[in-house]
Amino acid sequence: MTAQYIVNGLTMGLIYALIAVGYSLVFGILKMINMAHGAVYAFGAHMILMFVTWNLGAVPAVILSVLLTGGLLVIYDRTILATLRKKKAPGIAALITTIGFSYIIQNGLMIAFGTEIKAFPALLGEKMIQVGNVKFAFSQVYILVVSIVLLVGLSLLIHKSKIGLAMRAVEQNSRAADLMGINAKGVISVTFFLSGMSAVIAALLLASYYQTVYPTMGVMIGLKGFSASVLGGIGILYGSAVGGIILGIAESLTVQFLSGAYRDAVAFILLFLILIVRPNGLFGKAKVSKV
Amino acid sequence: MALLEVSNVSKQFGGLAAVSNVDFHVNQGEIVSIIGPNGAGKTTIFNLLTGVYDVTEGKIVFDGKEIQNKKVQHIVNAGIARTFQNIRLFKNMRTIENVMVGFHQNTRYNIFDLIFRTPRFRKYEKEAHIKALEVLHSLGFEKYIHTYAGNLPYGEQRKLEIARAIATGAKLLLLDEPAAGMNPQESEELLEFILGLKDQGFTIILIEHDMSVVMNISDRIYVLDHGKMIADGLPEEIASNQMVIEAYLGKSEDDAAD
């Protein structure tokens, strides 16, 4: 029956990959961990729920939620992070503001939506499919397809398109990129918007699979997505995808062979080992520090 | 026996040979300059001497002991200290504190001494403070003692970096382009200061582009180009050496033809 566990693990793994992509995008450009990413994920889920309860239909709800969540992140960057960059504040300062931002979002959701667990409509259907002795829900197929499409799409965008080139330029040296006429501020905003979009899509997939939504849903998912992005080599998109899948399967096998109680611990033990052995993750390259 | 003996030292970064088969020596009390166009590998040599990089091959003998590929702290302890091309002072610490960090290895007390303020702690702290004040006096830094290193004028920051190197108790000072970005008046002053160090018995290796400083101060000069030693000798010889001129100015139009 291990195949069943692998499939379960794969589903969670792809969700972690999507969240990890969100971290990698922001870290790639600004060398900063967005500690509020888990809260943004929860915010996306609640926005979709809100728009759906206004019976706007699934697709418009998701699009609106992506715009709103992406917009929230862009505004946050333009107002707070931009001033910190202008003031040349140390890295810690930006990190602390994201912690503050996550408190605001999470507790804002609690005020607006109440703290109890709410039902989320199964937007991706509930049919079950049986292949051999492995059973899985149709929505798991959705998760597989959508996340792969998104991951490939983002990688293509980063590595092949003009905006992607600009993003990598800003990542290397934003001042130089500015001199070359690239609008660094605009590129950073696009990066945040993409990071927000990947969080909303992850939220859509997971919330419709488990049909539950609650304000603190982003905390553990955020931490694990984060470990996945570091596992794969933070800042590298395909690294995050691989890291997420490894983490998802490892977690599922832990529940099979050990017990559910160690489910959360496996993410951090894996993270601990990777950081000791290869601090730059599986695919990261060690940077040579120049004197 | 020379104070410092560098024999057949090379350093490769992947395929690129930053420094290949370099030999040179420095005697006690001498001022030796290493000159060469940008990217010739001068600072790499300093990094090899101070243990920041490991040599790919070759030996470095200082004061009779082999020091290549040793840990940075051992080399500082052995008596080599350096300054940096772009100033690396402790900007958020005061002038006197910068110098006292230099004393780090000579203030021999441990964690328990400092917690319980034992006599040993007081002895070494007092010594460090007094010596730091002496060093700062020799620089004429009385009015800057309380200033933060980051707020010092440029010229003074250069001097403070040298003072900090002296504070480590080093015998050999490696000065990496101390006169960079200085106006003639300042570099003149620096010249005096370095000569003063020579009188106090320090041995100095100087990397410098400002030929007026190099020619007046150096006992001997080595010329480095693309990681290789292409010439060495007294300042006058180097000034008229054809290869050196080509290395700096490149071949003139007609010479290149033949």
């Binding site: 969670m12 488990y210 539950t212 559910g260 | -």
Partner: protein, 395 residues
């Protein structure tokens, strides 16, 4: 200069903050002025929904008492606190409550761990604590001021086993929430299983644990399928039972699901939808019961709380407040110790039945066998929960 100003501002803020919440020290309850009772529950953080449900129950009971002329001709007043479901907060609040001499009794502190931390302080200072939710086995033994009007863990675990055996389950699985509540539920259940060893052919074949906040039960479900369970008892709140039931029904529609009374709320139906069909519970008050006492309470509560239906533990909270007010009426004074003594020897006709406290402060409660039928909680016609000893004898 700027730094001095910032320092001054911050110190003033801190001092005013501390002075602001220093409560005045007053002497004991001197017979006039309002009778003050305290309610503390999780308004934020986990289980906040229960905190708010209980808050409505306490306020409703007090409002009804005041409308009927108050107690001993004095108005009743509630002082409310948010303990964020954390022991540290509960400790601070307990200190504050015992410091205020006017407060004569305390209700609330949702989780067992939180309640037991505060209970030590109430016991030390001699203030009655009446909980409607703590189910930890040795909660009441903390002291004679500590009461509980709630089914204890072992009674509820025994009833779950009764339902499993009564429904003819042979291979039983258990899904357990990894908290102190889940641990003690498991211990009681294991003890019950040992008691009926040999008398029934039911067998525990799989035990699965899950961390609070888990929504992915796929691996646990696969394990239950491998063990071939025809019945699973779930020790968890509706927030976990709902998703589990929904995911489980995608894999298997026959196996019987049994859970505990606290998952017995309308929200479970929203979360689990038709997957809730056929889930069985040992439960307390049935909100749709035709009993006039229950009907009147349910209507009053729903109207007061703006449409939220009461569940069993809110009903018990409501009873707790009425019992204490009744005790004050019987004794004729709001003295803390007198209330404590009166509670031991009074019996009270509450919404969930007749209540009396045994010598360590636990209310002896009976439960009803419920099953979910097309989205409604219905009392099972063909089965009835009996006292545990009678049940063991009948095997």
């Amino acid at each position: 200069m700027k730094k001095w100003f910032a320092l001054l501002l911050a110190v003033v803020l801190a001092c005013s903050a501390l002075a602001g919440c220093g409560s005045k020290e007053t002497s004991g309850d001197d017979g006039d002025g309002p009778i003050k009772i305290a309610y503390s529950g999780p308004m934020t953080g986990d289980n906040a929904e229960y905190g708010l449900l209980f808050q409505n129950a306490v306020e409703l009971a007090v409002k009804q008492a005041n409308d009927a002329g108050g107690v001993l001709g004095r108005e009743v007043e509630v002082v409310e606190f948010d303990d964020k479901n954390s022991s540290e907060e509960a400790g601070s609040i307990a200190e504050k409550i015992v410091g205020d001499e006017d407060i004569v009794a305390v209700f609330g502190h949702f989780a067992s761990g939180v309640a037991m931390t505060a209970a030590q302080i109430y016991q030390e200072a001699g203030v009655v604590l009446l909980s409607a939710s703590a189910s930890h086995v040795d909660y009441s033994s903390i002291g004679d001021y500590i009461f509980r009007n709630n089914v204890t863990q072992d009674v509820e675990a025994y009833n779950c086993l009764q339902i499993a055996v009564g429904s003819g389950v042979k291979k039983l699985g258990m899904l357990k929430l990894k908290t102190d509540w889940g641990e003690s539920a498991e211990n009681s259940f294991m003890a019950a299983l040992e008691e009926i060893e040999g008398k029934s052919d039911i067998e525990l074949v799989a035990v699965e644990e899950f961390v609070d906040g888990t929504t992915d039960f796929s691996s646990n479900i696969t394990k239950f399928e491998e063990a071939g369970c025809d019945g699973i008892v779930v020790f968890g709140m509706y927030g976990s039972l709902g998703p589990f039931a929904k995911q489980f029904r995608q894999f298997n529609t026959e196996t019987l699901l049994i859970s505990v009374g606290s998952s017995y709320t309308p929200e479970l139906i929203d979360l689990a939808g038709d997957a809730a069909e056929g889930i069985m519970f040992p439960g307390g008050m049935n909100p749709d019961s035709t009993d006039p006492k229950v009907k009147e309470f349910v209507d009053a509560y729903t109207e007061y709380s703006g449409g939220k239906e009461p569940e069993n533990m809110s009903a018990q909270t409501y009873e707790n407040v009425q019992m204490v007010l009744q005790a004050i009426e019987n004794v004729g004074s709001a003295d803390r110790e007198a209330i404590k003594d009166e509670l031991y020897n009074m019996t009270f006709e509450g919404v969930t039945g007749t209540i009396s406290f045994n010598e360590i402060g636990d209310a002896v409660k009976t439960q009803v066998w419920y099953v979910v039928k097309d989205g409604q909680f219905v009392e099972s016609e063909d089965h009835k929960l009996v006292l545990w000893d009678d049940f063991v004898a009948s095997l």
